[in-house]
Amino acid sequence: MLSRLRIRQDFKYFMRCLSDKVPEHDAGIPEIKTKNAKDQKKSSDATDKIQSLLKSMMAEPKISDSEYRERFTTAPERRKKQKADEEVKIEKIEESITKAAEDVAQALGGNVKQTEAELLSRVLGKINQTSTTLSDLIVGMKVDRSKDREDPAQWENRGQQVKRLVEKSKSDNIRYNQRKSTNQRDSQQTRPNRNLPQISTVNIFSGEPLGIFQKEGPVNHGTKLEVWEELDKRELLLATSQPPANYFQKMILWTEQGKVWKFPINNEQGMEEEQNVHFSEHIFLDSHLDGWCPTKGPIRHFMELVCVGLSKNAFYTVKEKKDHIMWYKEYFESKKDILQDIGVWDTKPQTSEAST
């Protein structure tokens, strides 16, 4: 319990040093603390506490930089001066940081030396250099190392080569370890990286109108091109159409292509033009006999039977039925002479009365 408290205090101090020093680059903070957190990850239950502590520290500063600047007008020259001050301070502070790091490392257990070294390198590196991302730091380390080694290595035999490779792979290993330790940070960090240049937000409607067009006025889009518009629509449809993603979408596609019967199933589909025709026109066909057919006699009888037959035919359209009747009309008229001879072609109504 005591040790836990201790860690906390140390951490607080540790962090304060950092945050005091470089308030602008707080990206370093999560790294450090995650580093610590990571090291003791598995066993120590202090982790949770530290993490919560760290989290609270990681939280957005209450005042954003811009706001801060607005409120407490800080001139650039003055800040430079401050930096100079800081450098002087660093010397003093360094000692206390070293002490704190040592304490932390001991409290965490495990490889004390390594932890301490890592902590310190991070902290001091942080103060001394402005680049703050972890990846930058790591990349830097790697470069340094290879340089050191390469300088004397002008003459290389295979053994040397191997050595160099080995060193490289070692440093790679270190990189992994560091990477590993950063995963915590990654999982906690959901805000954008701060290392990149500040993002400036632009409001899309912030511009000043040009004042060319008037708000009111008749709408006039000029000459219309029908085919062009059709083709435009077609292209747009093609650009946004996708293969059907389920059965229903496939059915929709088929319905649009006319391949499948329309829903709800209607057994009069395809007879749309018949919809406008009243059923009586299908059934009462006698009116088409008026005017040419004898009012009585065998031809009349025959034609009425034709009409009855047609009225029961479900497959002809009204026009076809009419045409059918008209065919008979023409047929009988072409035989008019014979029919008149035998006395069955008599269109006058008086004669019908006379015959009865």
């Binding site: 088929w254 391949k259 499948v260 019967w261 199933i265």
Partner: protein
């Protein structure tokens, strides 16, 4: 009992004076041997049967199902003969197009004017070829029958996988 015998005896006399009765009465014993849809047992007992073949027709709707699903065979159904011929056409087309690949009966299901053809296929050709055949047979069939046709395939490794028993 006596009555029945008497009636039977009298029935033998009936044809003499009534040709109508004669045509309506079976007087010989019925041959209760249904052969269609059943498979003969081989000597070596090595004839493979699928589940569908292993169940004789009287098990339809009990142990197995129909090979053609449509409403024409219901009472007052339309286009009975046409449907039957069309189905046969589809079956032949499928077994011919998927030559040597079809491992089961071709099941044909009709809904409105949509025909679904289900079949079990052997994995003897590459999936790419299968997709080609699939698109080809769907489009060919729908052009012939003038309605959308969908193939529903299942694949098995070999004929052995569909064998239900040997007789």
């Amino acid at each position: 009992m006596n009555n029945i015998i008497k009636f039977a005896q009298s029935a033998t006399i009936l044809p003499q004076w009534s040709p109508i009765f004669a045509s309506q009465f079976h007087t010989s014993s019925a041959l209760c041997r249904v052969v269609s849809g059943k498979y003969r047992i081989t000597k070596k007992r090595d004839k493979p049967l699928t589940y569908e073949m292993a169940n004789p027709p009287h098990y339809i709707a009990h142990r197995k199902s129909w090979n053609s699903w449509n409403t024409s065979s219901l009472k007052d159904g339309l286009r009975k003969s046409e449907t039957a011929v069309e189905d046969e056409f589809i079956r032949r087309f499928i077994t011919g197009t998927w030559h040597g690949l079809v491992c089961s009966e071709v099941i044909i299901k009709r809904q409105f004017n949509h025909i679904r053809v289900a079949v079990i296929i052997r994995r003897a050709v590459s999936p790419t070829k299968m997709y080609f055949l699939l698109g080809y047979s769907e489009e060919m069939l729908s052009n012939w029958i003038q309605c959308p046709v969908t193939l529903e395939l299942q694949t098995v490794d070999s004929y052995q996988d569909v064998v239900f028993k040997y007789i």
